[in-house]
């Protein structure tokens, strides 16, 4: 071998032109076209993915992308047209099935085609802004199948009919439905909405409109609500099973509107079964259902609330103005508490503890409790009854519960100062007669009142308790100092009351029997010895006495009487027979009190320690009294006369009210002065508003009364009117 001539290594371009066979594109396309056919004909297994991909790749590379794309479009379109005819031909129930099957096929085909044409999808299509293959496939399906004139309507009707049948109780092929609906969703939300959802909602509205009309004619409220609830749940389940989740709120709105909103008022006011009946019968479940359904519609809850409120107000109004109910104050208040409990339970179990309902309940109670001007008095009487006997044997927790309930009623009162007056009177009587069931309960209530109304409200009440305690100490001191002197004589138990703290009583004349006078004087000098500068006045209308009596036939009794009664009875130690006038003269007790006193001793069966001639019920000026020799009583200790708080008589009522009105005047003036002092200048309307607000916790101030006080203050030069604007008031320092 000889040596070879060394050549330079060069890489040369192709010397020959690469000629692209013009028929090359056609040929390549034909291959691809054929492949598409095969794919659609379920013959894909015979194809070579690699070869097809390469062909498609080459077409795009050699700038035949346009031809490829348009070829794809037309091929696919023609296939779809065939498929369309096929589907159209399906009968009855098979229609959907075929559609479903063909859709699945199409998707599979589309995937394969897309894979084959992936290079075009990634390069040619984006640069020419054409629709990508997958999307193209969906659009073509949409345009050629779903929107084909023979299929579009039929599809919708079929779907709607299935829904109707299911609503009417039939079982349908949910899986198939789901697939079809999914297909529509996949084709685009506008397809789903336009081709299914919108008509679905319309048809549903019609359906429920008709159904609700039918139900409302033949069902009672509770049944109707159950049906509505059932339908609502059905629709929600339907959506979760085979519709787009976004449809849930739309279809539930339809049901809510047709079944609930449109019939709301009729349901609520339905005779014998509406809201009021449910409330009366404590139908917790039905009420809960109504609440849950109505809260879904506008104004639903406010409708319930309004009807409930006006019902409570009406019943409340009847309760407080019914003379039958007002006979027994304790009963009356108990009824109020029961009503409140009832509605608390309803709001708790059926109305979800809804705050707006609680507020409506509160405002209703505030409204009707204050319709009866005696409510403050009655509530105090209720408390009085409880503290005297009602709470006997009740556990501490239960006592607190009852007192808290009373406080709740108290809060509703507008005229809290009236309550205070009565409470004071009743408390005084309880303390003085020693008739309170539990000191702790009394104190607990005072604390609650203090927390609610402030120190001022309760300081006097607390003063009363202090007096009781102090008096005990005083008595101890007195007895140890003078106890030896007393010997066999009467014993004295004195309670010293501080004038400001106790309800004012006018001092009444009464001549004490001689047996007592010396003893009373002893006490007075003892007390004043340790408390100089004070003045003591015996309150004979508030005391009691225990007397041992021996009657003609030897009966011995111990009588518990009032001080007045004691004075009268002691007279009979020195006389067998006394006329009314003689008794009046000797005791100097005022006529009305004396008459009541005599009545309770001579005219009441079982307590008639005295005998009266004539035997009439009333006390006449000329009556004559004797000791009743024939007096008997099973018990040794006999209690005569009632010291229990009663409902006030008319004149007493007037007096109390007048005192309350008088007390309010300085309070109003003080408020006016306080406000004007800090504001300096204020116009009329604002002044009235602020005064009312300041006094709210005690009573509801009357604007006319406030005006009167303002004018009085102007006259006394505390305020003046502005010269130019007479609406303005100015504070005069």
């Amino acid at each position: 071998m000889g040596s070879q001539k060394k050549r330079n290594f060069q890489i040369e371009a192709f010397k020959h032109r690469v000629v692209v066979d013009p028929k090359y594109a056609d040929k390549t396309w034909k291959i691809l076209e054929h492949a598409i056919h095969e794919i659609y004909n379920h013959n894909a297994s015979g194809l070579s993915f690699e070869e097809l991909y390469r062909n498609a790749y080459n077409m795009v590379l050699h700038k035949f992308g346009e031809k490829l794309y348009s070829g794809l479009v037309s091929t696919m379109t023609s296939h779809l047209k065939d498929i369309s005819k096929f589907i159209e031909a399906a009968q009855g129930g098979l229609f959907l099935e075929e559609l479903n099957r063909k859709w699945a096929d199409h998707n599979k085909a589309l995937q394969m085609i897309r894979d084959i044409l992936m290079y075009m999808d990634r390069t040619f299509i984006p640069s020419t802004h054409k629709t990508p293959v997958h999307e193209l496939g969906l659009n073509l399906w949409r345009d050629n199948i779903i929107h084909s004139s023979k299929i579009q309507t039929r599809l919708l009707n079929t779907l709607l009919e299935l829904v109707l049948r299911e609503r009417n109780g039939e079982v349908i092929n949910r899986g198939l439905m789901r697939n079809i609906i999914k297909m529509l969703m996949d084709l685009g939300s506008s397809v789903y909405q336009e081709d299914f959802e919108k008509p679905f909602l319309e048809v549903s509205a019609d359906f429920y409109r008709v159904e609700s009309q039918k139900f409302i004619e033949c069902c009672d409220c509770a049944d109707y609500l159950k049906k509505a609830e059932r339908r609502l749940n059905e629709e929600m389940e339907r959506v979760s099973q085979y519709l787009d989740a976004k449809s849930e709120v739309k279809i539930t709105n339809v049901v809510e509107k047709e079944m609930i909103a449109n019939h709301m008022l009729r349901l609520v006011h339905m005779e014998n079964s509406g809201l009021v009946n449910m409330l009366l019968d404590d139908k917790y479940d039905d009420l809960g259902r109504m609440y849950n359904l109505f809260r879904r519609v506008p104004n639903g809850l406010s409708t319930i609330r309004e009807v409930m409120t006006s019902h409570i107000r009406d019943t409340g109004k009847h309760l407080v103005t019914d003379p039958e109910r007002l006979r027994d104050p304790v009963e009356f208040v108990q009824r109020l508490l029961d009503e409140k409990d009832k509605y608390d339970r309803i709001i708790g179990s059926s109305f979800n503890n809804d705050k707006t309902f609680q507020n409506a309940l509160t405002s209703s109670f505030e409204y009707f409790i204050n319709l009866n001007p005696r409510s403050p008095e009655f509530i105090s009487l209720f408390v009085d009854d409880k503290l005297r006997k009602g709470l006997k044997g009740v556990s501490e927790e239960d006592v607190e519960i009852i007192l808290d309930k009373v406080m709740m009623l108290f809060r509703y009162l507008q005229e809290k100062d009236v309550f205070e007056k009565y409470y004071k009177q009743h408390l005084a009587k309880r303390l003085l007669s020693g008739k309170t069931v539990s000191d702790d309960a009394e104190r607990s209530l005072i604390v609650k009142l203090k927390t609610e109304c402030g120190y001022q409200f309760t300081c006097k009440l607390e003063g009363m308790f202090t007096d009781m305690k102090t008096s005990q100490d005083t008595m101890q001191g007195f007895n140890s100092a003078h106890g030896a002197d007393l010997g066999d004589g009467p014993t004295l138990a004195v309670t010293v009351l501080t004038t400001g703290s106790w309800p004012t009583q006018p001092s009444i004349t009464c001549n004490l029997p001689t047996e007592m006078l010396a003893l009373c004087e002893k006490f007075r000098s003892y007390y004043l010895g340790t408390h100089t500068g004070r003045r003591l006045t015996w309150q004979t209308n508030m005391g009691t006495a225990d007397i041992k009596a021996t009657f003609a036939k030897g009966q011995k009794h111990e009588l518990h009487v009032s001080t007045y009664q004691m004075c009268v009875l002691m007279l009979f130690n020195n006389a067998d027979r006394l006329s009314y006038k003689e008794i009046e003269q000797a005791t100097e007790i005022p006529a009305s009190d004396l008459k009541r006193c005599m009545q309770s001793m001579a005219c009441v069966k079982g307590k008639n320690v005295l005998r009266k001639e004539p035997m009439s019920k009333d006390i006449g000026e000329d009556d004559v009294f004797f000791v009743n020799d024939k007096f008997t009583n099973k018990l040794y200790k006999v209690k005569i006369g009632t010291v229990v708080a009663q409902k006030e008589t008319e004149p007493e009522k007037q007096e109390t009210r007048q005192r309350v009105e008088e007390d309010r005047k300085p309070q109003i003036e003080a408020a006016i002065v306080r406000i004007m002092k800090s504001r300096r200048v204020l116009d009329h309307n604002n002044l009235i508003a602020e005064v009312t607000k300041q006094l709210q916790s005690r009573f509801l101030a009357n604007p006319v009364e406030i005006k009167k006080r303002i004018e009085s203050l102007i006259e006394r030069d505390f305020l003046e009117r502005d010269n130019v604007d007479r609406k303005l008031y100015r504070y005069l320092a």
Partner: protein, 228 residues
């Protein structure tokens, strides 16, 4: 110029401080003469002892002026004088009033009355005059209220020409009701505002929620009840 010599009559030469300037100014001789003549006129009506024009003097003045004692113009004159006490005119008050009216003789005074009326009726002055009327009518030292009878008379005099229907109605009400035995200055002024602001007799724009004195609230209620 002769100076009347009455005991107790002030020597016109004992000039008060506010006349000092005038005295010094030569061109004000006319003014000085005016003052002197005013003083002379004063003396014709005044009580020598007290140097005040009292009830009888006032009566005489009225008849000289040909004006009734209850005539509103007398009240206007008192206002012009800034008189403090009803039934009495001090020398200062007399001087003040007549100087302002430029009246140094009875005739001039008489002629000045119509102008005085017009002056008082001007809205800017009338409120002040109205307030003055009340205060002027108080007789006692610490008195702050006027009895209903006096109120009614005074209203007729002062407002009778301008607000006849309101005055008639209100006086009727006052005399009929029993709650108020007197009226305060505040209530008096309130009525004037009432006449000016509230359409009468329909009372359509009266709102008892506003700051009207209570007596007017009651008055309006009385009218409304009557109309029903």
């Amino acid at each position: 110029m002769s100076f009347p010599r009455k005991t107790g009559s002030p020597n016109p030469m004992s000039i008060k401080a506010n006349d000092v300037d005038l005295f010094h100014s030569a061109s004000n001789i006319a003014l000085m003469q005016l003052l002197e003549q005013i003083d002379i006129l004063f003396d014709t009506y005044a009580n020598e002892m007290t140097n005040l024009i009292e009830a009888s003097g006032i009566e005489e003045l009225c008849s000289d002026l040909k004006v009734g004692a209850d005539d509103v113009r007398m009240l206007m004159l008192a206002w012009k004088m800034k008189a403090k006490k009803q039934g009495f005119i001090t020398q200062d008050e007399w001087r003040r009033g007549l100087k302002a009216l430029e009246a140094n003789s009875l005739e001039k005074l008489q002629r000045a009355l119509p102008a005085l009326e017009r002056e008082v009726m001007r809205p800017s002055n009338f409120k002040d005059f109205y307030a003055f009327a009340f205060r002027y009518s108080l007789t006692e030292e610490r008195q702050k209220t006027l009895d209903i009878g006096s109120i009614c008379l005074l209203l007729k005099i002062v407002l009778g020409s301008q607000f006849r229907p309101q005055v008639d109605s209100f006086t009727q009400y006052l005399q009929m009701q029993k709650e108020y035995k007197v009226l305060t200055f505040d209530q008096w002024m309130g009525f004037y505002q009432f006449c000016n602001e509230i359409s009468f007799p329909d009372l359509n724009n009266y709102d008892d929620q506003l700051a009207w004195p209570l007596v007017l609230d009651s008055f309006v209620e009385w009218i409304r009840q009557k109309n029903n």
